[in-house]
């Protein structure tokens, strides 16, 4: 079922959580909502599910308008056939694990036997088969979360909303369940909306990713598009582009002078849009060489000293202070020789111009960005 939100707006008292939000989810499509904490993801889902009455806009599911502010039409939640995994689990403490999962099936008036088998299947799927008879409150956090997930999976709704359904599970389990979810979603042609803070999760599950900032969608694109062409610097940063530097001035030949001491960066491609811009590039695209290696300074190749170096398993993440005082994040394979850089060691860093992107800082600067701690860099 297609889900269409237009001009959606939700305010709790005078706190506006969702403002004038437009979003279309194709039938059978899986959209992942990415956004800073408190940007309105849950609120949006609650509106779609029918748990909150929006203060404006319309919501269409399939070809049925379930909410329309103008006509005050508001289809009750249980008639929308929208499943939701609550961020707070909302597992019923007074029921056993099995009873929790059976609920949506009982609603469907299935035979007792069938309810039980179906419920047990789902429980096995999330690895809780052995806990079926356990009181739902006598579980670990992750187990409860899986109960909540199983409950919604058992429902087989036409639209499924998942609000950080795997946040408390270990990487391995998350991997498997993620694949399961994706399989089911594809098999059943389930239209789903998914909130996660884990990028690989977003990428693995999403047909399209919607970036949400301050109660509205600022970019909606396929994972690859999004990563290759983020619309703004803030999105780029949000997606983990560790290096974002404000641009002071640019010349036609694609050379950009950064704010501050005035380092120049070469980049390919024209700056998109007008207004303030930033130069962004990935830590993975930064190459670190021993200081003074090679003769004439090439483009985008600067001297600096290692300030910090954190082991990250397969990679090592370093922070290098350029002579201009700019802090550059770099990450390199932990196994390759010379990946270990001592703090204070002088090095030379290089970024290929084609890997540098020039992006506008904001679009629609009217929307105040939500509470967000000052970034460590820039």
């Amino acid at each position: 079922m297609r889900v269409l939100l237009s001009g959606l707006e939700l305010a709790y008292g005078d706190v506006v959580a969702v403002r004038n939000l437009d979003l279309e989810i194709e039938n059978g499509e899986s959209v992942v909502l990415l956004g800073t904490s408190g940007c309105g993801k849950t609120s949006t889902m609650r509106c779609i599910a029918g748990l909150e009455e929006p203060t404006g806009g319309t919501i269409t599911i399939g070809d049925r308008v379930v909410y329309d502010h103008a006509t005050r039409r508001n289809v009750p939640a249980y008639k929308r056939n929208v499943g939701m995994v609550f961020q707070s689990y909302a597992v019923w403490p007074h029921r056993t694990v099995l009873e929790n999962v059976s609920f949506p099936l009982e609603i469907k008036k299935l035979s007792r036997a069938e309810v039980r088998t179906r419920a047990m299947e789902v429980l096995e799927l999330v690895g809780l088969g052995a806990y079926a008879e356990r009181g739902a409150s006598m579980l670990s956090g992750g187990q409860m979360q899986r109960v909540a997930l199983a409950r919604s999976m058992a429902m087989e709704p036409s639209v499924l909303l998942l609000d950080e359904p795997l946040s408390n599970l270990d990487a391995r389990l998350r991997d498997d369940l993620r694949m399961e979810l994706r399989r089911i979603q594809v098999e059943r042609g389930l239209t789903s909306m998914y909130v996660t803070h884990d990028q690989s999760e977003a990428l693995a599950l999403a047909d399209r990713i919607a970036i949400m900032e301050g109660g509205r969608i600022t970019q909606l694109a396929t994972p690859r598009e999004l990563f290759t062409a983020p619309r703004t610097a803030s999105i780029a940063r949000f997606l983990g582009m560790g290096n974002v530097f404000g641009v002071q001035s640019s010349d036609a030949s694609g050379r950009h002078v950064l704010a501050g001491p005035g380092l120049t960066v070469a980049a390919e491609g024209r700056p998109a849009g007008t207004g303030a811009h930033s130069a962004c590039f990935r830590p993975e695209d930064v190459v670190i060489e021993p200081a003074g290696s090679g003769g004439a300074p090439e483009t985008n190749s600067w001297n600096g000293t290692v300030r910090m170096s954190v082991y990250q398993g397969t990679t090592v993440r370093c922070q290098i202070e350029l002579d201009g005082g700019y802090l550059v994040e770099a990450s390199c394979d932990s196994e390759t020789a010379g990946s270990r850089h001592a703090i204070g060691e002088p090095v030379r860093v290089r970024v290929a111009p084609e890997r540098v992107r020039i992006l506008p800082d904001e679009i629609g600067a009217d929307a105040p960005a939500p509470a967000m701690p000052k970034a460590a860099v820039a």
Binding site: Y78, L128, S137, A148
Partner: protein, 588 residues
């Protein structure tokens, strides 16, 4: 591609453990540290008085001060074999079952409306749930006998005047169930309202989102989560109705329906009174109540009823939609039947010259009315006001101590691993089972024998009330202590607060609603408590309920009695104001 489902975790069997009722098992304060002092207090308050009378069941002579003999016997239990008792207990069972069903239905229903829905005029609906308790049940019963007695009931007269061919008869099992049910509903109301206003809407919403209609949601989430409150109040109401004498006396005897309470009353009323046999009866009741309590505890132990958790409790109301007004209507009808009509009847009696009414038209005859009942005898009299003063003092005192004690006991029983938790709960529930008239003697004896000179002061009344109402208090607090997640309190402890501080800073505020409901309940019970004070009051410690009783005992023309009852309701209303203010639900 498919991924074979993950293997289940280590298979584990989790047998229910009573202490696990709020998810994480209770594991602190083991030993007697927490329970010891409370046990000691309860021993004085309850164990000795109840013990004395129950001892009577096995003793030849009445164990009153000075004559406590040690020659034991089982003779007293012969009473259980008396043929009359069979019919009596059957009737009582029918009445108690019917009444408690009705009470829980009404009480929980109104509580649900007031706490969880957008019913019109919610504050009023809250009052609807509460006010029936402003009338002592025997006053309510009398009022209803004025209204619904076969020939002379005002309603029947009205019907006759209007030429409607129907007659209500309150002197019947149905009538008893009806009246008792109405006047005990507030128990269920207060308990259920408290625990429902601690509901976490997320849990309800989960049901709706998964396809449940609102009706279904209420059935499988809202109500089950209030189960401790519902079962608790059902237990209270059942036993209290089972033993209620005043109402039975007014409604059952005229209809020649024998009940256990009338039976006990008669045993106590013959010379020499058969107190020991009554005690024998009490012993059986105590046993029953303790077993039921235990069963209830087992039943609840299998589950957790935690609604107030650390992930936020947002206030949310269920939209009734088309049902808003019908629901309100039902509440209004209940209000009319339980409060308005009886009060009208009382008002009428208080101003009517002759208690006899042939037809309502008489009310408008010359000089049919006079207001003297509100004059010298009551409002105009100093002694009346001093009596009111006593009542208020005692009631507030008893309610305050009762609430605190109930909370402590409930906390130890439901939140700790202390030794003797079973004993604590058992002792606290005992007064429920001992008929007031018997327990009254026990208290009399106890406080006569105590070295401390409480007897003859208002304090003895306070102490006695606390004891008598312990079960009500405990059930009320216990119902909702189970709905707050203990992690919330533990968090405070981990932030460096002593347990005491953590409780006062977190648990108590979270249970605000429940505690003020408990206070309210005990307050009103203390105001109306009658049988027990009869054994303990003196001239300077006379209280309102007794003054009213004295007036009713004159029989015949009840001007003053009725007038007093009305004033009494007024006082109750005023008294209940503060607790009601504090009782606002979480997130409201």
């Amino acid at each position: 591609m498919t991924v074979s489902p993950p293997r289940a975790d280590r298979p584990v069997e989790a047998p229910p453990d009573p202490a696990r009722r709020t998810g994480r098992p209770a594991r602190r304060h083991s030993g007697w540290k927490a329970s010891g002092p409370l046990l000691a207090i309860l021993a004085f308050l309850i164990l000795i008085p109840a013990g004395l009378v129950l001892f009577g069941a096995f003793s030849v002579d009445v164990p009153r001060p000075g004559s406590i003999g040690l020659d034991l016997t089982l003779e007293n239990f012969a009473v259980l074999a008396e043929p009359e008792i069979r019919q009596a207990s059957l009737n009582s069972l029918i009445i108690a079952t019917g009444a408690s069903l009705l009470a829980v239905l009404l009480g929980a229903g109104v509580a649900f409306l007031a706490a969880r829905t957008d019913v019109p005029a919610r504050p009023f609906v809250y009052l609807v749930g509460l006010t029936p308790m402003f009338l002592p049940s025997y006053v309510g019963a009398l009022a209803w006998s004025m209204l619904g007695s076969p020939g002379a009931g005002l309603l029947n007269i009205l019907f006759r005047d209007l030429g409607i061919g129907l007659e209500v008869n309150l002197y019947s099992l149905g009538g008893l169930v009806f009246v008792m049910g109405m006047y005990y509903a507030p128990y269920a109301f207060l308990l259920v309202h408290a625990s429902m206003s601690m509901m976490n809407p997320d849990l309800e919403e989960a049901a709706v989102v998964h396809g449940g209609t609102h009706r279904r949601m209420v059935r499988s989430v809202t109500v089950p989560l209030a189960l401790p409150a519902i079962l608790g109040s059902a237990l209270l109401v059942f036993v209290l109705v089972f033993e209620n004498f005043p109402v039975a006396q007014v409604l059952a005897s005229p209809g020649s329906i024998d009940t256990i309470p009338t039976y006990i009353y008669r045993m106590m009323n013959t010379y020499p009174s058969r107190g020991n046999e009554a005690a024998a009866l009490a012993v059986v009741l105590v046993a029953v109540v303790l077993i039921v309590t235990w069963l209830q505890r087992r039943a609840l132990a299998k589950r957790s009823y935690t609604t107030v958790s650390g992930k936020g409790v947002k206030a949310g109301r269920i939209r009734l939609g088309g049902w808003r007004w019908p629901a309100f209507g039902i509440a209004a009808v209940y209000f009319a039947l339980a409060v308005v009509l009886p009060l009208l009847a009382l008002a009428l009696t208080s101003v009517r010259r002759s208690p006899y009414i042939g037809s309502l038209s008489e009310l408008f005859e010359e000089g049919a009315l006079d207001l003297s009942a509100y004059g010298a005898g009551t409002l105009g009299s100093f002694s009346f006001w001093s009596i009111v003063g006593n009542s208020v003092l005692v009631a507030v005192g008893a309610a305050a101590f009762g609430t605190i004690l109930s909370f402590l006991v409930a906390y130890v029983v439901y939140r700790t691993r202390a030794r003797g938790r079973g004993a604590l709960e058992g002792i606290s529930m005992t007064p429920l089972a001992v008929p007031a008239i018997v327990l009254g003697m026990g208290l009399l004896w106890t406080w006569l024998m105590m070295p401390v000179q409480l007897y003859g002061t208002l304090w003895v009344l306070v102490v006695a009330f606390v004891a008598v109402q312990m079960p009500q208090g405990l059930r009320s607090v216990a119902a909702s202590i189970q709905s707050t997640d203990r992690d919330l309190e533990d968090a405070a402890v981990l932030l460096g607060a002593r347990r005491r501080r953590a409780i006062t800073a977190v648990t108590v505020p979270l249970m605000r609603t429940a505690l003020s409901a408990t206070f309210l309940l005990l307050l009103m019970l203390s105001m109306r408590e009658l049988t027990v004070p009869l054994f303990l009051y003196t001239n300077d410690t006379k209280i309102l309920s007794i003054a009213i009783f004295d007036q009713f005992e004159n029989g015949g023309a009840l001007h003053v009695a009725a007038a007093m009852s009305l004033l009494y309701c007024l006082i109750m209303f005023v008294l209940s104001y503060l607790p009601r203010r504090f009782g606002k639900g979480l997130g409201e």
